[in-house]
Assembly symmetry: D2
Homo-oligomer: 347 residues x 4
């Protein structure tokens, strides 16, 4: 599978197909005849497994195709037309979704970030300032809080922070939504103390990432209290986010949640990422910042980068100064230990 | 694969997985590492095959996930904010997309249909009336024509009609867009005289249906003149319609367009549907109307329907009168000849 | 004021300025200094008068600038993103608002009309059909009923019909909204049995037309139960419908509701319209249909129309047949009795 | 008119009615009968005067009701669905329009400000960064530049800056739009070197503020090259921004542009504001920053503010520190010289 003459690919966490169990199950069930739109027994089984994993037997679970889509659907589902969503200025919805939130009519109320995170205090202050402003009814009403876990910077929120967000949201009676595009990498991380059950307990909705965590495609939205969003199906359909052969998503999440696979699937990524961070430090490279999950942010001298890029696929993160660049390396659920070894050789 | 003790399933054309070639290719290439968002060599190969099949080497081809999504993206791409799209009142965008077009701000300008079709003349009259109305600048501007081929009723447009639509659209300088969700069933139909090359020649955009025609998911949009829509990628992303692991779509269309498979993949559906229509007529059932593709519309006595529904999965189409119901039976690319045989037994 | 050498102008009911009391009050109060955005004592006085006239002391009253704007604001205020509004296919929101409702993301669910009216039964059937459709969650949810009183055709709903709409809306728990752009002409009509108090009792919101009924501009929205729409101010602002110098609207409605002026202001229009209808019938012209308010719809031979149009400004309504045209003549609150006399001479 | 026992009102520049010429003309023409929707001779006359004042005989001029509305209409007119508008983070569209721009689907791309201004260089950098970003097609495309003159902070752009914006916009082929809500106060200011002709020469569109500059309501949009926006009328209508009795706007701008009144109408505001700034400095108050137009920003000790607010109506601007507050005082076209005198007494 692994060829020495190709570049070492650490560009992203969506380069490969799906976990082998998924591929096998898809082949086996290919000629089954089931109802469409997720109304099939495989989807039901997958939903039931997810409810169990979240300790939330009454939750509504829906399978959507991708992350941008899921964020747009859920933001639109929770917000009224005059409301906006609070998010880190680095949040995926703030920058890299091509204005999907705005295209549904909602402003992203961007707060300054600290390594991709916003604090419950900052959210509290923002909303307080809004209500204290004499002209607040001329302004977009903050109607929802969006955080991602892990964040775009690979950092993690603590359970204490999650609880604090819940408290702020309760105070202003607005929903808390967690984007879990890379959730498996949080769950596989010793530093993480937020469980699926915690998310189900403290969020109004969150999604369990599939695309970056072992599926071909698909994200599983969990709404602990289904009465919050009675017409979610229609909202999904209106966004063009309803998969006709919904079974395809059911199969994948059914496999991911068999035998708690999802809890472990991120482990190879974390192991490899930690190894790479170690190697980089040993070799005298400076990490741009520390983050415990599957993304590594490293400051590279530009003159070394040319040569490096002949051998390694990476992502440009940002310019550091005139002579240095911040690059991102990403591992994933399928990253072989040899990748780290090979990186050592290259460095 | 086929079990006698389960109901005969003719409920829809999206009940099964994908063509075996697709499943095999997916398994074989699963651990390949490629760039995301459709920027991989498999997608490029698939696009090239489609360009060739359409006789349109300069066309832009994009892969989207589903039909509602594709229609919303393309309508939004072509229309300005004050424009609407002309469609049959029975068109998929008019009824069964949960207002996806309107959610992007565009009105569906619905015209009366004749077995799912609208005529170029009717479109011409509608636009003429619009321009002749003294208040037309208080009205939604007709900015695009949407037809589906085959239609929701399984009927077909002729090449002459397609050319006539082109003429109307040229006269008013508005784009013509064809929804080809079930295009393979038109192409497999002797009655059809519209080729892929014709679509590329006479439309501003059309999509080649995958979901209902042999893929797990995916539709291939073809834009013969790419300069018409320079920022289509961003529009797709904004609609949450950009698949991260775009390769998944590339694989499927690459297989469908190898050795002209797509031209033939609908044949079993047409053969089975024709057989079923013949059987129904022989048994004295009245077809609601004639349509040559993979959907069969039959008038059933309600008292017979109860028993029928114990043995066959079908779709309710509409109430005919107090004693009769119109039902829809659908075949697909994977329909075994035995299905028709079994229906004979049941009837 | 009235010159014999100019054309007799019966083109519309928005050709003149405002009632003399309004012009006088505007001049007198011009240099007053008050808070903006309708938060001034004049607006408060006007609101209080309207609440009294509606027998609804707890109602929220807001002043907006125009009718299209008001309909868009209120539709957006009541509907969720996946809901549409039921209206007559001839309703102002269906045709002549340039897609304002759709631009906010909502589909107008158009029902066939009978002289501009829809029936409570037809609405009931539509909603029942929606819920009985197996695919209804793929369709736009009917979320509100819109009627106008008088309608676009100048016809009136009866109190019984209004109550029946209320019953349907209660059954499905959706709001009933009445567009009263020409409400003064209903109130001045002996055939009308719907009072302001009835509207306040049976509607979730309605607006009292100003622009066509004696003001320079402005419509007064009444929301009998303000808790229904807690953030209406922000919704108005978001739609660009909040007038900075809101006092201008307050002055006008304060004058219209002093001494019940609004109840009588339409009388000259009705008197003149009835006289014109009588004259037309006497002269052998055929009315297209009977309607009791300030609009007259008459079938004219095309060969007579050329000459007629040299002397009279009218509106084209629609083509009747190859030799005849339906024209609309409109009277208003300021129509002098001499206009009818002069029309007699011309005919 | 001026009473000693009422508070000195410096709260805003939209507290009074209209210039006396306007009130007189409205009374005189009240019973005229004209066509609606701005298609009357008074509007035509006003448009012609504006074209002359701008030295732009081919310009399209449209009258809209208010500023938020005008900004929303023009942004929507220029942008495609996937584009956003660059503006200062303090711009009116960024903060105080309740998300009107986003409700049309467009993101406001907010740049840091310097006393309400953004620089052409900063805009250039922003767009360059966008195009240099490898993921820029996942991001909102910058499709327009919005500046206000004067800004929200009362500051002015120079002609050099305006030309530099034009250059940036030309480089990227995007429109430049100027919000002139308070334009009369720039034109009356000796520090200002941007004329109406300059705006017509260097902008793709701008609006001449009426509401804050002497009218009851109304803003005049100028589009120097009308071919840029062929369907502007329908866009205005769709936004609910088309006034039925459009003559009301025509009258006001016809009066404002008779004998160059608009060029001088802001003078009393500037005189009074300069006097107030002088007085404040003399009395030892610190101005928060210098701005040459009709708004004065002053730092006040909180303990003094209580007493001050018993005698003066002002606007809260922002908290300065725990003991101080920034307040805003505004003058307008109708501000009497005595207001400054009275402020001296109070201070």
């Amino acid at each position: 599978m692994y060829e020495a003459n190709v570049k070492l690919n650490l560009a992203s966490d969506y380069m490969r197909g799906a976990h082998v169990n998924i591929i096998r199950r898809m082949a086996e069930t290919n000629m089954m005849e089931t109802a469409g739109y997720g109304l099939d027994p495989v989807c039901e089984s997958a939903k039931e497994r997810i409810r169990k994993a979240c300790g939330c037997p009454g939750a509504r679970v829906e399978f959507l195709v991708g992350g941008t889509q899921t964020n747009a659907v859920m933001t639109d589902a929770f917000l009224r037309s005059y409301e906006g969503v609070i998010a880190a200025e680095t949040g995926h919805i703030s920058v890299h979704e091509a204005g999907a939130i705005e295209s549904d009519g909602h402003k992203v109320l961007a707060l300054p970030h600290d390594l991709g995170k916003i604090s419950p205090d900052a959210v509290h202050c923002y909303i307080e300032d809004y209500y204290n402003d004499g002209n607040h009814d001329h302004m977009v009403r903050p109607g929802m809080v969006y955080i991602s876990h892990p964040t775009e910077y690979g950092t993690l929120y603590s359970l204490e922070e999650l609880k604090a967000f819940r408290k702020v949201c309760d105070e202003y009676r607005i929903p808390l939504y967690v984007d879990g595009a890379r959730l498996a990498y949080a769950l596989a991380c010793p530093e993480n103390d937020v469980t699926l059950a915690d998310l189900a307990k403290y969020c109004d909705a969150f999604y369990i990432g599939g695309t970056k965590c072992g599926t071909l495609l698909g994200e599983a939205v969990v709404v602990p209290d289904p009465d919050r969003l009675p017409h979610l199906f229609t909202i999904i359909k209106q966004h063009g986010a309803l998969l006709a052969k919904g079974r395809l998503l059911g199969i994948q999440f059914d496999e991911l949640f068999k035998n708690d696979l999802y809890m472990r699937i991120g482990e190879p990524a974390i192991t490899a990422a930690n190894r790479i961070r170690e190697v980089l430090r040993d070799k005298g490279y400076e990490l741009y910042f520390e983050s415990p999950t599957n993304q590594i942010f490293c400051i590279m001298e530009n003159r070394k980068l040319d040569k490096f890029s002949e051998k390694v696929e990476y992502s440009f993160w940002e310019k550091y100064d005139n002579d240095h660049t911040v690059i991102r390396l990403a591992t994933d659920w399928a990253t072989e230990p040899e990748k780290a070894d090979r990186l050592i050789e290259i460095l």
